[in-house]
Structures are given as C-alpha cells and as structure tokens.
C-alpha cells in the first residue's frame, strides 16, 4: 500500500541478465529483431520478475517462486521417448523441441494448403507479424520471451481453407533448460481449423518453459483451439496466448492443466471485428504442492460481440489454484454480451483457491455478468451416491468428472473433448498416489 520498496535484483534476474548478455549475438533474427530484443530485455529488467504487487500476477509471485533459472538451450537434443497423451486422436503433429521447430520429427499429412515454417526463419527475415499481437501487453514474462525467443512454429491457414484434421503444436522440453518458444498462427478469413497445443517434458527436471503464441483469426473464420499442459512435475510453465479475432468469427478455446510445479497460463483475446463470438474454457487439476494460475483478459473493443468464459479448477492436497479473469468493455463496444464464470472445488483441507473475476465496463448498453464459487464436493449429493452403494472414491471421481466436463465440453469438439476428459479421468484415477 505504501511506496514500492526498492527491491534488489534476485539471483534469477541476475542470471537472466548474464544469459541474455551471453546469448544476444547468437539468437536468431534480423537487425530489427535484434534491436527489438534489446528493448524487450530492457523492459524486462525495468519491471523485474512479476511479484505480488504486480496486480495481474498477485497470486503468482515469480520473484519469490523462481529462485534460480536453468541455462538457455545451447545444443540440439534428441527427442526423448515421451508418452503421447493424445494417442488415438487423429491429428497432424508439429514438434517443437526445446524452443525449436523440428520438421524431421513432425507429421504434416492431411493438412494440405497449410504453410508451416520454423519461426526462426521468420525471425531472420524480420517478419513484422512477430510481436504484433503482444505489442500492448505490459508483461515481464512476455518481454523475457521477446528478448530470448529461439523459435517455434509459424502456421498459416490460408483464407477459405477448411482444415478438417486437427493440427497439434507439440512442445517438448528435454532437460534442465529454460526455453523461450514463440509461435505465430495466422488463420485467414472464412477458414476453419482446429489447433491443439501440448506441453510435455521430463518428470524429474526443474526446467522452465516460456511459450508465447500469437494468433490472428480472420473474418468469419471458425477456430477450435485446445491447450494441454502436462509439463513434468518439477517444471515451471509460463504460457501466453494472445489472439485477435475478426468479425463474425467463431472462436472456442480450452486450456486443460495438470502438469508443472508452477504454471501460469495467460490468454488475451481481443475482438477486432463485430458480431464475433468467443468461448473460453478452462479445466485445472492440481495436487501435491502444485500452483496453477489461469489469467484471462477479454477485450471487447468493438460492438455486438459475445463472449462466454467458464473456468473450473480442482485442487487436491496442498495445491493452489488461481483464476484471474477480466472482461473489458470499451466505450465503443455497445451491445456487448459477456459472461464469465469460475468455480473452484477443493478436495482437501489444505488446498487453496484464489479468484479475481473483474468487469471493467465503459459502454452502457451491455449485458455483462460474472460469477464465482468456491467450495467442496456437495455432501448431500455425495451421500446420495454413497447410499446407492457407490464407493466414496468412485463417487468423488464421478462428481469431479462431471464438474470438469462442463468446461471441457464447452469447447464444442467431441473428439478433443473426449481425449481431454480421458486425461481428466486419469488424473482422478491417480488421486492419492502421486502425493509429494
């Protein structure tokens, strides 16, 4: 509440400065990209790692949580054998290992018409689309990514293309590293596409993955986008997704998180054209001492758009779940219809749930609402199931699955929904067994 006390740079911040100094000349990019990296790192240094007084990060104090940072990637790793969490789901697969797109590991079949390129190439060309969607985000973690990004994948779905096969961007981290991945996805007008984003890594490594994905969705496009965060149990996941959608688009997005020791998944969605509809859904499942933070900003900048947000979080053992969501309605955005709901289910006495659902409204002819609930499994319903002979664990699994399913099914894609629900059920089946 008082003056910001002068905080000395943390060890992690010092390490990052040294890493940047050492890496700046070898990071990919045109002179303009190199200059932008310098600006971004200066921005990062000015702000430092987000801490509890950085309002959008108030429940995820990275300054306190990130004591050290592992080294930047220096050599190309072999792809370790990692179980495919979506085995059985038909999709093309673009593999990004330690922040670099690896065509030789990827499968581009069934997505004819879609252009896929390594982002590093675009960096070298100085492609101006890079950084455009995040230009107005004032976020130190995004700045850090902009300074240190090594690559990722650039996907172009041309106007009018109807791509039936889902496209997965599979992010794999191979060891104790910090990775800075940047993806750029452009979906043309009248196109339709289904994008999957997965994040995995070794279970025992405290790696730190910082992924920024920028997406632009053209007018009248239809997009389904699902993110699966299954990072290794000791990892730090910092994911940013920034998207703007054109007029009359239909955009649905789901984030499912069960992995990482510390995770933050932030989504920024801006309506760029009228009469568009966006659905944003989330399902978080954490246990042990996991900390999972979902942040969401929906910017209604133009009139006549509708957004629906439904986020569910299940916290077991000593874990912490966070949801910070904000609906902005700018003065011009008359006839906005925005509804945001977040619900937390605490399965253990020691779990915590922190929520901050905000409405910021500057137009009068709007219908906006938000709701939030926090609580445990309803004892009456549980008892009803028990009285019918269902065991307690089974009854709890049933109820928790139903709780999460509402958000997962919100995406409106049956195949992806089924695959994600299976992951949720697996998580529940392992309840009590992975306690840390």
């Amino acid at each position: 509440m008082n003056a910001e006390p002068r905080i000395l740079r943390t060890q992690a911040e010092d390490t990052l400065a040294l890493e940047f100094a050492a890496a700046r000349t070898r990071l990919p990019g045109s002179p303009s990209v190199a200059a932008a990296r310098e600006v971004a790192f200066a921005d990062f240094q000015k702000a430092g790692l987000p801490h509890r007084r950085t309002e959008p990060w108030r429940y995820t104090d990275l300054r306190a949580l990130l004591r050290t940072v592992p080294p930047l990637v220096s050599e190309r790793a072999e792809l370790p054998a990692i179980v495919d969490p979506l085995a059985g789901l038909d999709r093309a697969r673009l593999v990004v290992v330690d922040g670099a797109y690896r065509p030789e590991l990827s499968d581009l079949s069934g997505i004819d018409g879609v252009t896929v390129r390594p982002l590093a190439e675009l960096l070298r060309e100085g492609d101006e689309r890079i950084g455009r969607e995040i230009a107005t985000l004032d976020d130190a973690v995004v700045s850090l990514n902009a300074a240190l990004m090594t690559g990722g994948v650039a996907i172009d779905v041309p106007a009018g293309a109807k791509i039936a096969r889902a496209i997965e961007i599979a992010h794999v981290t191979t060891g104790l590293l910090q990775t800075h991945t940047r993806n750029l996805v452009t979906i043309g007008a009248d196109a339709s596409a289904r994008i999957l984003e997965t994040h995995v890594g070794p279970a025992d490594s405290a790696y730190q993955a910082n992924i920024v994905t920028e997406a632009t969705v053209g007018d009248r496009a239809k997009v389904i986008w699902a993110k699966l965060q299954l990072e290794g149990a000791a990892a730090v996941h910092l994911g940013t997704f920034s998207v703007s959608i054109g007029e009359e688009t239909e955009f649905d997005h789901l984030t499912l998180m069960t992995g990482a020791s510390i995770s933050r998944s932030q989504t920024f969605l801006a309506f760029a054209g009228e009469n568009a509809r966006a659905g944003l859904f989330g399902a978080t499942m954490v246990r042990g001492k996991q900390h999972a933070d979902i942040a969401l900003t929906v910017d209604h900048a133009v009139p006549n758009c509708a957004s629906r947000e439904l986020f569910k979080a299940v916290m077991d053992e000593r874990s912490e779940g966070v949801f910070q969501g904000r609906i902005n309605v700018r003065p011009a955005a008359q006839k906005t219809d925005g509804r945001m709901m977040t619900q937390g289910l605490l399965l253990s006495e020691d779990a915590s749930f922190f929520v901050k659902p905000e409405l910021e409204i500057f137009a009068d002819d709007v219908q906006c609402a938000h709701g939030a609930t926090s609580g445990e499994i309803d004892e009456d319903i549980l008892f009803y199931l028990l009285s019918r002979g269902i065991s307690r664990p089974e009854a709890e699994t049933l109820l928790v699955t139903a709780f999460l399913a509402e958000a997962i099914e919100g995406l409106g894609d049956e195949a992806i929904g089924d695959a994600f629900e299976a992951i949720a059920r697996d998580w529940l089946a392992n309840r009590g067994q992975e306690a840390k």
Binding site: S352, F353, L359, Q367, G371, A372, G375
Partner: protein
C-alpha cells in the same frame, strides 16, 4: 411508496443547483496554521486537553506517516494533494467542547436546523410536532464536536455516547484498550495520517447485555475552507450488547477540493451486534468536476467475540472521490459480517468502494450486496475481498454486485478478490452490469411517468435490497439523495 413519491417530488423541485447543503456558515473560526509538523500535532493535542499518552500516540503515528506514500492501487485519479497546504484544525471560536444545547452558538444550531438534523432534544422529548424523531446525535463541525444530545438518557441505560475527545479525557482506559486495535496506526497512509491529526468523532460504549435504547448518530459538517477533516470514531459493544449507529456528512460548495480522512473502528464482543449506517453526501464538486471532497476512509469492524455481528450499510452519493472499504474481521466463531452498499456517481465523481470480509473463525458468515449506479462522466468501482483462512471451517459468503450504467460516458467496474484456504468454506459471488432497459423505460413513459420519474422509480427498485437495511427515517432520506444525485443524468 411514500418514499418514491417524495423522491419524485424532490426531483421535480430541484433546479440547476442540485446540492442543497452547499451553504457556508459564517462563524468565527480558530484555525491551526497551515501545514503539518510535530508542532501541529502537539497543537491539536493541546487544544483537546489530551493526556500525554495520547500525544505520544499521535506523534508516533506522525513519524511513521512521514515514511509512507499515498496508495495508488485504486481506480481514482486526482492531482497530488499538498498536505502542507491544509489546516489540520478548525473550530468554531465559541465552542470549546460539547456543551448543553443552551450554550451552543445559535448560528451553529441554525446550521444544523438547515441541514435537517434534529438537535432539539427537549422538544423531541416533549413530543413537539415536527421536532424530529428520537435519535441521539453527536454533531461534529469541522474539527470539533459541538454538541451531543440525549447523553443523560443514554447514561441511564449505561451507554456512553460522547465525542472521542471527551472519551480520551473521561474514559482513557477504554480508549487505550481499543483505539488502534482494529485499524493499526500504520494500516495505510490515510489511517496513519488520521492517527496523527484526528480531530473529532464519536465514541460509543455499550456495556454487557445492554440494548442501546435509541439510534445513535453523528453528523459531520466541514465548513471552513482549506481544512481537512479527520474523523475518528470508536464503537465498542460488550458481550450481548446491541447498538445501531448512523452517520451523515455534508460540506459547503467550494471550488477547491477538501480532504476527509476518517478512521472508524468497531469492536463487537461475544453475542454483540453493531449496525453502522452511513449516508455520505459530501459536496461532490460542480458539473465540470471542480471542487468536492476527497473522501479517504478506513472503516473496519472486528467481530472479536463468538456469535457477534457487524453490519455496514452505506449510501454514498457525495464526494468527488470516495475511497472506502468498510470491512469485517470475522474472528469469533459463528460471527457474521454484512455489507450493504449503494454507490451513486454522477458528473465527474469517482467511487472506488467495497468491503473486505476476512473469515478467521469457524462457521463465520458474510453477505455483500453492492449496487453501483454510474451516470454522467463518473467512474464507479466495486472492489472487495472475501477470504477464508485455513481454520475458517464452514465459512460462508454470498456476494452480489450489480452495476447500472446511465449514459455512455461513464464506467462501472467490478474487482472482487476471492481467496479460499479452506475446503469447507463455501463462497458464492455474482455480479452483473447492465443499463436501464429501453423497454422498461418506455413502459413507464407509456403509463405517464416522465423520463426522470421513470429512472428514479427503476433505480429505487434497483437499490431496494440495500435501502431496506437502513433505519426507517434514513431510508426516505437516502432515496431522495439518490434521485437528486442522478438529476440531469437522462434526457
């Protein structure tokens, strides 16, 4: 029904000048020199004949305040306040402290008469028609309490109701025990400033098992220019006690901004209940946003005892800036906190208000009903925190925040923080933002109501849940105020 009709009448009668409390009382005033220093703190303490311990307490606060800076997290914008350009003490010369009504300067009595505040104790007791209802009043004019009514009658019941200045002299042990125990000296910038220079305010002590026989109220009036008012109020309800307290606030219309930085502390012990209502109608500034009171207030209640209850009701229509979060610390098991709020902003007013419900004890319950109405070019923010600590098993909260926008130049914002560290705590929060629907308005017009009347009617419906929480006689007043505040917002 009557209230609505009166509201409608009220709206009709208003001409361009909406703020009817904007007059200045011409009275000789003793002012402290402008600026703040240890000497000023000593001056204030000496003026009030305070004991040494109180002076030390103030000086300690002042020294801490020097190390602090103004908070910036709320959604209010204003030019930097020059704390050296204010008078920290202003008192009508004729008044050295609370006296009997006979001795009060007639000019002051006339002021309160004009404000519609019942100080005519004898006539009320004698049942003179139109003398007002039976409410005990502490009247605070700039930095001093000028009179407190019904003291003797209250004393018979064992209730102490006097100015805080008097309490410091007369009941030092109680004051020492509780002052700063809910809002610590260094709680925040304005609370610390208040602790150093607080001028006057009310003190209420309700002994064990006593139900206070009448409503208590304080009317705050800022009269002098370039003064800050630093109200300090302390209310203690002992085990099983009950008290209902209401404060009202007005100030003259002046071009410059004036500062009001209050601290209110409530303590409820086992089974005690405190109901605290505010009708805040400080001068809001003119149509161009010039002038008006900066209202930076720290209000907090401590449900210290088991099964205790603290209920805040506020109707905020005035002030250029309102920054206040009346809160409840639900420490005792089974204790309850309530916050009912109507915040109306028009013109260039800025409101950032809400509450904190801190659930510490078991089976604690809280309820928040907030109705924000933004019109003109104002900004209206609800900011609230509901938290359950690890041991707060069985905690319950229900929050409902509705915002109504009138016109497209204003903003309404909802910023709730919900923090649960206990699985058995059940929190429910819902918020909506909308405008008065065109078809609702047309329906009323078709029945013959004017736009102003229709808006007043719909708004009165919108705020009804909160109005019902106010003591009867103030509910009518509050409805009038809301309509007046919204004058000129449609059409």
């Amino acid at each position: 029904m009557v209230a609505v009709q009166e509201t409608v009448d009220q709206v009709r009668q208003i001409d361009v000048d909406q703020y009817k409390y904007g007059f200045v009382t011409d009275i000789e005033t003793e002012l402290a020199p402008k600026g703040l220093s240890e000497d000023i703190v000593r001056f204030i303490s000496a003026k009030k004949n305070e004991p040494e311990w109180m002076l030390e307490w103030r000086l300690d606060a002042y020294r801490r305040w020097l190390t602090m800076t103004e908070p910036t997290w709320s959604r209010v914008h204003y030019p930097k306040i020059d704390f050296e350009d204010l008078h920290y003490y202003a008192a009508p010369k004729s008044t050295a402290g609370p006296k009997s009504l006979d001795e009060v300067d007639p000019e002051l009595l006339a002021t309160y008469e004009k404000l519609g505040i019942p100080l005519r104790e004898r006539e009320i007791l004698a049942g003179v028609e139109g003398a007002g209802s039976r409410v005990a009043v502490d009247a605070v004019f700039d930095s001093v309490s000028v009179v407190t009514t019904f003291k003797d009658e209250l004393k018979k019941a064992g209730v102490i109701f006097c100015s805080i200045s008097e309490a410091i002299r007369e009941y030092p042990e109680i004051v020492k025990k509780y002052l700063g125990s809910v809002v610590p000296v260094t709680d925040n910038f304005y609370a610390t400033l208040n602790s150093a220079v607080f001028s006057d305010g009310s003190f209420v002590y309700v002994p064990e098992g006593v139900r206070c026989p009448m409503e208590l109220s304080t009317y705050f009036r800022i009269n002098e220019r370039n003064t800050g008012q630093f109200e300090r109020t302390l209310i203690i309800a002992e085990k099983g006690a009950y008290v209902s307290y209401l404060e009202g606030c007005t100030a003259p219309m002046r071009d410059e901004n004036q500062l009001h930085a209050a601290v209110v502390e409530l303590i409820a012990l086992d089974d005690a209940e405190i109901k605290y209502s505010t009708v805040q109608n400080w001068y809001p500034g003119d149509k161009e946003g010039k002038g008006g009171i900066y209202n930076f207030v720290t209000k907090r209640g401590d449900c210290r005892g088991d099964r205790s209850k603290i209920s805040w009701t506020q109707v905020e229509t005035g002030s250029a800036i309102t920054w206040k979060y009346p809160s409840c610390i639900l420490r005792g098991d089974d204790s309850q906190g309530e916050f009912y709020s109507i915040a109306v902003s028009n013109g260039y007013q800025q409101v950032d208000s809400g509450t904190k419900m801190l659930h510490l004890g078991k089976n604690t319950k809280s309820r928040i009903i907030s109705k924000g109405i933004a019109a003109g070019r104002s900004d209206n923010t609800y900011r609230g925190l509901v938290s359950a600590h690890r041991k707060a098993s069985g905690a319950r909260n229900f929050t409902n925040c509705d915002s109504l926008l009138i016109g497209d130049q204003c903003g309404a914002h909802t910023v709730p923080y919900i923090e649960s560290k206990n699985a058995s705590a059940v929190f429910e929060h819902e918020a909506t933002t909308s405008k008065i629907a065109d078809d609702q308005l047309f329906y009323c017009l078709q029945r013959g109501l004017s736009s102003e009347e229709a808006v007043a009617l719909i708004v009165n419906g919108f705020v009804k849940d909160v109005i019902q929480q106010l003591p009867m006689e103030f509910a009518v007043e509050a409805q009038k105020l809301i309509s007046i505040s919204l004058e000129g917002s449609v059409g």
